[in-house]
């Protein structure tokens, strides 16, 4: 008789696994990618391709020559990081800067901690924030969305809605600026911004995919949006000429991209429902705080990274135990 496997129970496994999760995340990001390719043309496609290729290559090299372990690129997580990094930069970013970003994201953000699952911070955001601090000019020169025909070089650049707002200093002047898009344009993605963040509708399709396949739960996106809406709403009610309304905040910058794809990164977010709710809510509040009172017009990346650092603390919140003794006293 041939050999029998003897192993501990359980002997069956759910069909879900890390690779499947990563594939679904990639699928969910595709609508936003297509939208940006349509808006920014070949520039977006180039940024996308280079970022993904660089992330895969760096992970493979580091794993092979520095960590000397089995290749991990087969789990698709490097592709996800590459896509997220591309989503977070302008489509006309010089390639060499982008490659450095990929190296920082994979090398420092992920592999230095031991690879997938060990990183406390979202790797793509580590890369992005590094670039933002090192090359602020290139990282904040936004091409105008011209449609599919836009040339690879010499694109016309323009400010983002959040940039206009920060520049103007108050809502009345900002809204009066002819460069300011209206809400419908913002919703569909006809505004300057990073590759993946411009189209709310494409991001909504993506998050629907993530929720329906149960890759993420509603807790982080909903609480983050709630935190942002409540805080910006309160400010707006105090003085609508100084502080812009919550809808503007939702539709501009990386708010939705962050809420759907970056704050929800399972590795760098809390484990329990209550932990997730606090985590999301605080990111929303911090984002508005930075946007309104900080030096940068945009604050999603910083807010997420700050809250990533609090995750070990939030993980101290224990789930409710079955049959936990009621303390008499």
């Amino acid at each position: 008789m041939s050999l029998l496997t003897v192993s501990g129970s359980p002997h069956v496994h759910d069909k879900d696994n890390v690779t499947r999760i990563m594939r679904i995340v990639i699928l969910a990001m595709l609508p936003a990618f297509l939208m940006s390719a349509w808006m920014f043309g070949m520039g977006a496609v180039k940024v996308f391709a280079v970022s993904i290729a660089a992330c895969i290559l760096f992970e493979w090299l580091i794993q092979k020559f520095l960590l000397k372990g089995k290749s991990t690129i087969g789990d698709y997580s490097a592709i996800v990081t590459g896509m997220l990094l591309a989503f977070n930069v302008p489509s006309n970013l010089p390639i060499w800067i982008l490659i450095i970003g990929a190296l920082i994201a994979i090398g420092i953000g992920k592999m230095s901690f031991g690879g997938l699952g060990k990183n406390p911070f979202n790797p793509a955001l580590v890369g992005r924030v590094f670039l933002l601090i090192s090359w602020p000019v290139q990282m904040t020169s936004w091409p105008k969305p011209l449609g599919i025909a836009s040339p690879l070089t010499d694109v016309i650049t323009g400010p983002t809605p959040l940039g206009i707002l920060k520049e103007s200093g108050n809502v009345v002047d900002a809204m009066g600026n002819p460069a300011m898009p209206d809400y419908v344009q913002m919703f569909t993605g006809q505004m300057a911004g990073s590759v993946g963040e411009i189209s709310a509708i494409a991001l909504l399709i993506g998050v629907a995919i993530l929720l329906l396949t149960r890759v993420i739960t509603w807790h982080i996106p909903v609480s983050m949006i709630l935190g942002a809406v409540l805080f910006s709403g309160a400010l707006w009610m105090v003085d609508p000429t100084m502080f812009v309304d919550p809808i503007f905040h939702l539709l501009t910058g990386g708010m939705l991209l962050g809420a759907f794809f970056m704050a929800t990164d399972m590795v760098s977010s809390p484990m329990t429902k209550w932990g997730m709710l606090i985590f999301g809510f605080m990111i929303g509040v911090l984002t508005i705080l930075i946007r309104t009172f900080g030096a940068y017009p945009e604050g999603v990346s910083f807010a997420i990274l700050i809250m990533n650092a609090f995750v070990p603390l939030l993980n101290k919140i224990k789930p409710k135990r079955f049959g936990e003794e009621v303390k008499n006293g």
Partner: protein
């Protein structure tokens, strides 16, 4: 209204391949192997010797310790020897080996099919009888039933809860038993109610067995105090604490027994065995075993004598498929993989499940991606990734602090983990170690 437990739980594919297959009694083979350690607790002590002539149902080993159970000869014949033989643990253990000669039953055992409804025995007599007949929990736990029926002096039972959930995928023995022996089961339930002096019993059945719910409801209308409770399908609803939570919405405190909340739980198969013991004087020498698996040509529900080698069951189910990679004694979530088809059927054997080489492989392992899904599905509200890590790092302090002893080893965490972490392997090790540490501290 369907009920269920609140915290955690998973939905493994049900694969009830042997569903609605009529119970088929199989003739005992020429040689029978009766292991002495078949119940939870101390093994039984043999009282027969090589060469002794036996009748079917004759006492052959006594349960002498407080938590132990008696054994009876499953066939008539001669004791060949008392030797070691491989059992479900994979080790060779003390076993009474009997050469069968015909099937001559011990005097006083009623083999007729007549239903005896009237219960004449008193509570004490019932418990004595259950003990004398060697009844143990037939759901797989094999805890001696008479011990469970002895309610501590300072406690009072309020509900008898009958576990007819059969939440393990593949297994169908309890389902089929309910369809075929509904009346006997309900008399058994009444006997158990009398034993623990309660007037309310709840039979919990998951609604993937609508015919069983309907049938039992019909039969139950002839009996006072018995409710059939339909339950939403969710694993591990058959775990004692989860079943109590689902049926009467009470939570057994950590480290305590069901009687703490006024409940006693018995398996539906046990109720049938109790009926046969008390009304028919028949000891526990046979049980229903589902033999199943995707490659089995004839998935079946067999009635087999204890001591029948599993190889015979497989033969009757159409033979062992070529590419069998794993054989499981029990269900796929909590059953034990066995390493030989020579092992005999024991009192706790609810099913034999075969998996092919591909199914036998575990999921690919990745680093823990901290998704928290193990925590979400844990029915005990634990954090399995922490417990698993504590086991991996041999850190027993953390394991104890994180309540590793609460784990019911249901396997939901490992089933769910997208990284294929061997969580329960490490948790089992941790439970074993922490259990030792706690015992040493007490001494």
């Amino acid at each position: 209204m369907l009920k269920t437990f609140k915290l955690g739980g998973v939905h493994p594919a049900e694969n009830k391949l042997s569903e609605h297959k009529a119970i088929e009694a199989i003739e005992a083979p020429e040689k029978i192997y009766v292991p002495l350690g078949q119940n939870l607790g101390a093994p039984s002590v043999a009282i027969v010797q090589k060469g002794d002539k036996l009748k079917t149902g004759q006492l052959i080993a006594k349960g002498e310790a407080f938590i132990s159970a008696s054994l009876h000869s499953p066939v008539s014949g001669t004791v060949e020897k008392i030797d070691t033989h491989v059992d479900a643990s994979g080790y060779r253990r003390d076993t009474i080996i009997i050469n069968r000669e015909g099937d001559e039953w011990e005097e006083g055992i009623d083999l007729s099919k007549d239903l005896i409804k009237e219960i004449t025995a008193s509570s004490e007599e019932i418990i004595e009888k259950v003990k004398a007949c060697g009844i143990v929990g037939l759901g797989g736990a094999t805890f001696p039933t008479h011990v469970k029926l002895m309610i501590p002096k300072d406690k009072k039972a309020e509900y008898l809860i009958i576990n007819a959930v059969e939440c393990e995928p593949y297994l169908t023995a309890d389902h089929q038993l309910m369809l075929e022996k509904g009346d006997e089961i309900l008399v058994g339930v009444q006997i158990l109610m009398k034993a623990i002096k309660v007037d309310k019993a709840i039979i919990g059945i998951e609604n993937n067995k609508p015919d069983a719910i309907e049938h039992m409801n019909k039969v139950a209308s002839n009996f006072a105090g018995i409710t059939i409770q339909g339950l939403k399908v969710k694993y591990p609803q058959g775990a004692e604490k989860q079943l109590i939570k689902a049926c009467v919405n009470r939570e057994v405190p950590s480290g305590k027994l069901p009687i703490e909340v006024g409940c006693v739980v018995q398996n539906v198969g046990t109720a049938f065995a109790v009926y046969e013991a008390v009304q028919k004087n028949k000891p526990l020498i046979e049980r229903i075993v589902s033999v199943t698996g995707k490659n089995i040509s004839k998935p079946s529900n067999f009635q087999a004598r204890v001591g029948t080698p599993i190889s015979l069951l497989l033969e009757k189910a159409g033979g062992m498929p070529e590419d069998t990679g794993k054989i499981i004694n029990g269900g796929p979530m909590m059953g034990k993989a066995i390493n030989s088809i020579d092992i005999p059927v024991t009192k706790g054997c609810s099913g034999i499940l075969l998996m092919d080489k591909k199914e036998a492989l575990r999921a690919t392992e990745y680093n823990c991606v901290r998704c928290g899904r193990c925590t979400t599905v844990c029915p005990m509200g634990l954090e399995p990734f922490l417990l698993g890590l504590a086991g991996e790092n041999l850190n027993w302090e953390i394991a104890e602090k994180e309540n590793i002893m609460d784990c019911i080893e249901c396997g939901s965490c490992q089933f769910t983990c997208p990284s294929g972490r061997p969580l329960l392997d490490n948790i089992r090790l941790g439970k074993y170690k922490v259990g030792q540490i706690i015992r040493n501290r007490k001494n």
